[in-house]
């Protein structure tokens, strides 16, 4: 393998590295561009060249708005994201545990969960919207949009849990039971700590996917917008585009902060475990 690696590295390493770097630039470049543009002066326009440098637009964002409801939509998105995160983590953990035994209908439910993931979002949005309308409930971000988000986050949670339990070494559990631990103790003291890093991953997915979700929220949010809907509304009636760039930059920075916190948390959990069990788990 080492010898092979060396010969391979000579052939194609440089062009592939260049492609990879270009790909990363392609992924992050546009977002970085609007981040730079959002620091323009008060006279700044939609594109380059920049008109001075200032924090003007970020200040504008937090001042009273002539259009839209920035604060309200942010609060709703955060609350919705947190509740979706919590339910995704708990529901997929439970379902993951359930699938460790076989049970009737398990396969059907698994495939339906996959369907829920790959079904075009507009179908779910429309379906939930009409369903609420027909049973005489008015759609709202905490009811219909909450359900719509779960149809998007739960499949990811379940798939992560499947991946975790497929790789799970059952002898730790068996050892705990042999030593007289109850089922609850085995779960709380052995299984749960082992899967905690993945569970943090599920939480991260649950929150960010809900926080950024647009298509499934469109017909299910009811009267009050969530943040992505608000942003979309701003794109269609832009009066001050740079304000909008500032909003985009804030949102992206927020997502990055969340992702890094989750990654650090996962790393910390692993690290503290490595210290407790030098042989590695």
């Amino acid at each position: 393998m080492a010898a092979l690696g060396k010969t391979k590295r000579k052939a194609g390493f440089i062009p592939l590295t260049i492609i990879f770097i270009l790909f990363i630039v392609f992924l992050y470049g546009p977002t970085a561009t609007i981040a730079i543009l959002s620091f323009q002066g008060p006279e700044g326009g939609l594109t380059f060249p920049m008109n001075g440098v200032s924090l003007h637009w970020f200040r504008q964002l937090f001042e009273e708005q002539q259009v839209g409801d920035f604060g309200g939509s942010l609060t709703r998105s955060l609350l919705l994201g947190l509740s979706v995160m919590l339910c995704t983590a708990v529901f997929s953990l439970l379902a993951g545990l359930a699938y460790r035994r076989s049970f009737k209908g398990g396969d059907a439910l698994f495939y339906l969960t996959l369907v829920s993931l790959i079904l075009p979002s507009i179908l779910i949005s429309l379906g939930i919207g009409i369903m609420f309308d027909r049973i005489g409930l008015s759609p709202a971000w905490y009811s219909s949009a909450f359900g719509a988000h779960l149809t998007w986050t739960l499949p990811f949670g379940l798939l992560i849990m499947f991946a975790v339990f497929n790789r799970f070494n059952k002898s730790y559990e068996a050892a705990a039971i042999d030593m007289g631990a109850t089922a609850w103790q085995t779960f709380r003291l052995v299984v749960f700590p082992l899967i905690l890093p993945s569970l943090i991953g599920v939480c991260l997915f649950g929150f960010t996917l809900s926080y950024d979700e647009f298509a499934r929220t469109l017909m299910t949010a009811g009267t009050f917008n969530t943040q992505p809907l608000e942003i979309y509304g701003m794109t269609t009636n832009v009066t001050t585009p740079v304000l909008f760039y500032a909003l985009g930059t804030m949102t992206t920075l927020f997502s990055f902060t969340l992702i890094s916190s989750a990654l650090i948390a996962i790393w910390a959990v692993r690290k503290s475990r490595a210290r407790k069990a030098p042989t590695g788990v």
Binding site: F20, L46, F48, G127
Partner: protein
């Protein structure tokens, strides 16, 4: 109730099952039922008519929207597959330090967790008439007049799709590649295969299911999309999703429902073909 105590799985799986029942099966059933209803400007009228379908399936607008959507799906699929495969291949076979590999992999996947809408909008200052690309090209005298087709065009739509969805290819393909026994590649080289022969006759067949999973994601995401198309084409282009979205905004729910049912059937047919290549449970 006895089966609940006998097998706790039933209890544990209940929350998931309820969500699927209430927010997936009921809504889809609602769409199917409503697609046969009648409607006027003010309300939905429960009925059993085929007019929504008749209108939909005989309209030339539908046909051109489907052709457009297939065009987007196939182009995006081909580009994301090539790009995603190359990136995954580089990560899996050229980066030898597991730490660096992990970091680069995360770097590729982080955008998935940020807002799609903002990622799309970010292209506007770059591609616009006076955008960064045009002004740079003019400055270095490569072009005299701004290129008009950079923004609000099919090019912009496909570019945004590739930008948004390539990582749906990278992740499953990378995942399959990491399971390939490195000895097989060595054997292939030893047997005299060139690098390209090794890629196409050893690596590609062994990550067939990763490719299939990525393709399922990309194709279904593009088929059901309406926001990317309406934003990046500037409203000039209509995909199937855009048509449904328009009918929704005109409150023509039965028509939108019929459109959604036809879209659902189309996607299911495409999925049934792609699912032949994989066993999802083995992949995890």
């Amino acid at each position: 109730m006895r089966f609940l105590t006998a097998n706790p799985s039933y209890l544990q799986v209940t929350p998931l099952a309820l969500v699927i029942l209430l927010f997936l099966l009921f809504p889809v059933a609602t769409i199917v039922i409503v697609s046969f209803w009648d409607f006027n400007a003010y309300q939905l009228i429960p009925d059993f008519i085929f007019e929504n379908y008749e209108f939909l399936l005989t309209s030339s607008v539908t046909l051109s929207a489907y052709l457009k959507t297939f065009f987007y799906a196939i182009t995006t699929w081909a580009i994301t597959l090539t790009l995603g495969f190359t990136v995954a291949y580089y990560l899996a076979f050229y980066i030898r330090s597991p730490l660096l590999q992990g970091v680069l992999f995360v770097l590729c996947t982080v955008p998935f967790l940020t807002s799609n809408i903002i990622r799309m909008i970010s292209w506007i200052p770059l591609l616009g008439r006076n955008g960064l690309v045009n002004s740079t090209l003019q400055e270095i005298n490569l072009i005299d007049a701004p290129i008009e087709w950079l923004l609000y065009s099919d090019f912009a739509v496909v570019l945004a799709f590739v930008h948004l969805y390539t990582l749906f290819m990278v992740v499953p393909i990378f995942n399959s590649m990491m399971r390939i026994d490195r000895n097989l590649i060595e054997a292939s080289i030893d047997a005299g295969a060139s690098a390209f022969q090794t890629i196409f006759q050893v690596v590609v067949p062994l990550c067939k299911s990763g490719i299939a999973i990525g393709s399922i994601f990309v194709v279904t995401l593009v088929m059901g999309d309406f926001i990317t198309v309406s934003l990046m084409s500037g409203g000039l282009s209509a995909s199937v999703g855009v048509l449904i979205r328009n009918e929704i905004s005109l409150l023509q729910y039965p028509a939108a429902a019929a459109g959604a049912v036809v879209l659902l059937i189309t996607v299911l047919i495409m999925l049934s073909i792609m699912f032949r290549f994989i066993n999802i449970k083995k992949e995890l």
